[in-house]
């Protein structure tokens, strides 16, 4: 495969920035959760790209041919863990968003500020 350089890293950082943009400038709570999900996807992509080695094969063969290099297995294990953790946090965030909506009758973040000052 041809070398495509740092493009995956750039895409990962773009996803993080998009997520931060949603968190900073979007007023809807669900949209902000989507922002958190985007940051998380970006970080996951970053981790997997870290472990990639050109011409490598997947690190899942027990009897891999020794002449071929494997891509690093650790970042992949990390990413798996991170994906599962991400599901838990997203679910919790969304359930709190639903609760907030039930109590406040709105999802507008600028109206959900009883705790201030």
């Amino acid at each position: 495969m041809m070398h495509i350089g740092n493009l995956p890293f750039i895409v990962a950082m773009l996803l993080v920035i998009l997520g931060l943009y949603a968190l900073l400038f979007k007023r809807n709570l669900i949209k902000m959760v989507i922002g958190v999900s985007l940051v998380e996807t970006g970080v996951n992509l970053f981790l997997v790209t870290l472990g990639y080695r050109a011409e490598g094969i997947a690190p899942i063969y027990t009897h891999a041919p020794t002449a071929v290099s494997q891509v690093l297995p650790t970042p992949q294990a990390l990413t798996l863990t991170s994906i599962v953790i991400g599901l838990a946090t997203t679910a919790l965030l969304l359930s709190f968003a639903v609760l907030v909506y039930r109590h406040y009758g709105t999802l507008d973040v600028t109206k959900i500020k009883e705790l201030r000052g």
Binding site: V16, L23, L29, M32, V33, V36, V39, E40, V43, F46, L47, L50, L72, T74, P75, L78, T81, S82, I85, A88, T89, L92, L93, F96, A97, L99, V100, R102, H103, Y104, I112, K113, E114, L115, G117
Partner: protein, 515 residues
């Protein structure tokens, strides 16, 4: 060395984890069995933490390494640094003792805290999950595991903050705190990824031997400082803290303070053990000092004008984080140049951790008892509780005086160390710290006057059940004991912890890497 001592590090984490997952099942057997089970788990965890600390301190403070899944013993069989391990040095053991204290007290307090809508087994489950996460944070020797435990504490903490789903503000606080915790966790993960990408390892000791202060290292350090300082609640990233502490149930507020301190511990670990001298320590130290001064000042002044009792104490808790940051920041800034007072500063900061958790915990618990008894948390409508809640009144006063650094309580002992050492670096630091302590005393005089003094504004407050009083008495005993015999406790438990930061980097690395 018998098996129990050998496996103590993992047992400390595994026992509350077992409690977390078994609690819903045990809960089916009724209130008595559930309570006994929770108490047993907490007591067992406390015993393991004490055993671990005793082993470490009697062993001369050399780090204990516990390897999971490795067949060969480290460091002789060091084949690849990719391996999950727990590494316990003086500071980890000290933090484990703090967490154990908090766990036991929180479980005891929770026995009778819930009134009409019972906390139930789910509450126990989340509480143990949070405790297991905090233990994991302070014991792990591996950056990725650190991230996993960080997320465990985030999820459990926010579950507990939003536990009272019928309260409007709890849901709001839980959502905000969860979003911020997740974000900071992801940035920490990004930093871990950056470090892994450069050095191909996740072990703290392994990374510490390789870090060279490149640009990527600096970016990773910035991500770690920002993420961990936010989870610790440093100003100006503290806004979640009063909401979290204020809206969580009283015992959980105390555990959340310990959770923040665990993040602070992680920050210190990253600075002293992971990075150490490999980059400009003075600049990083001054970043911490500036954050600390902001934290102390804003926390105290905001506490002065709060109308909600728990929010007031929460801002007090925020300001106390500043004292630890200040002390350790001073220690880090002078790590290489001025050893004469750097170690004193770090000793003061570390000692203040356990003092803070005892005083703030005592205040949160006493406030929880007062709020539970009077059904109100508004300073304007409370008053005169001293007529009926005599014990709680005395305990709140002890906590307030100790937190404000009034002698002879424990807050004074640690703050004295902080004042005297920061004065050596710059008198301005010490002056601000002393002034903030005085304002803090004023804050708590106001809270005390509003809640406990005056005529009976609340006709018939509910009495405080004995488990709640007992748990507060335990904390008060810590406050007074540490206040009357500070030299003894500093000698026995604080100095090993401070030395682990000050000069323990080599030992920490050698325990894993050998050589």
């Amino acid at each position: 060395m018998n098996a129990l001592t050998t496996h103590a590090p993992i047992l400390i984490i595994a026992t509350p984890l077992l409690g977390a997952f078994a609690a819903p099942l045990i809960g089916k057997l009724g209130w008595t069995v559930r309570t006994a089970f929770a108490g047993a788990i907490a007591a067992l965890t406390g015993c393991f933490a004490g055993l671990l600390a005793a082993t470490l301190y009697t062993g001369g403070g050399a780090p204990i390494v516990y390897v999971l899944g490795g067949r060969l013993p480290l460091p002789s069989g060091l084949a690849a640094p990719i391996r999950i391990m727990l590494e316990v040095d003086g500071l980890s053991a000290f933090m484990a003792l703090i967490t154990a204290l908090v766990a036991v007290v929180a479980v005891l307090y929770s026995v009778s805290y819930w009134k009409e809508r019972s906390g139930g087994a789910l509450y126990d489950s989340l509480l143990f999950l949070l405790i297991a996460g905090v233990f994991g944070l302070v014991l792990t020797g591996d950056m990725f595991n650190f991230f996993v435990f960080l997320e465990i504490t985030s999820v459990a903490a926010c579950g507990l903050i939003g536990f009272r789903t019928w309260r409007k503000r709890s849901s709001e606080a839980a959502f905000k705190v969860m979003a911020l915790y997740t974000l900071s966790g992801l940035f920490v993960l990004l930093a871990v990824g950056l470090l892994y990408g450069q050095y191909g390892g996740l072990n703290i000791a392994y990374l510490a031997t390789n870090l060279g202060g490149t640009m990527v290292d600096r970016v990773a350090l910035a991500l770690l400082i920002a993420g961990l300082a936010m989870k610790a609640g440093a100003v100006p990233m503290h806004m979640w803290a009063p909401e979290a502490y204020g809206e969580a149930p009283a015992p959980v507020s105390m555990v959340l303070v310990a959770n923040s301190q665990a993040s602070l511990y992680a920050l210190f670990r990253v600075l002293f053990t992971l990075y150490g001298q490999s980059l400009s320590a003075a600049a990083v130290g001054w970043i911490l000092i500036v954050l600390a001064l902001l934290t102390i000042f804003v926390g105290v002044t905001m506490a002065l004008v709060q109308k909600d009792l728990k929010r007031l104490i929460a801002f007090g808790a925020v300001s106390q984080i500043g004292y630890m940051l200040l002390a350790v920041g001073v220690g880090f800034a002078v790590l290489a140049t001025r050893p004469d007072f750097g170690l004193t500063a770090i000793t003061g900061g570390i000692f203040h951790m356990i003092n803070d958790v005892a005083c703030i915990g005592l205040l949160f618990l006493a406030a929880g008892a007062a709020i539970r008894a009077s059904g109100s948390r508004d300073l304007h409508s409370m008053g005169g509780l001293a007529h009926s809640l005599k014990g709680t009144t005395v305990l709140f006063a002890v906590g307030a005086f100790a937190l404000a650094g009034v002698p002879p309580f424990n807050g004074f002992a640690s703050k004295l160390l902080i004042y005297e050492s920061t004065f050596q670096l710059s008198p301005v630091l010490a002056v601000i710290a002393v002034l903030a302590s005085i304002v803090l005393l004023a804050v708590f005089v106001r809270a005390f006057q509003a809640v406990f003094l005056g005529p009976r504004l609340i006709a018939r407050p509910e009495p405080v059940p004995w488990p709640m009083v007992a748990s507060m008495v335990v904390l008060a005993a810590v406050v007074i004991g540490f206040g009357l015999f500070p030299g003894f406790f500093i000698d026995k438990i604080v100095t090993p912890a401070a030395n682990a930061l000050w000069s323990g980097q080599g030992d920490y690395i050698r325990a894993v890497m050998g050589g």
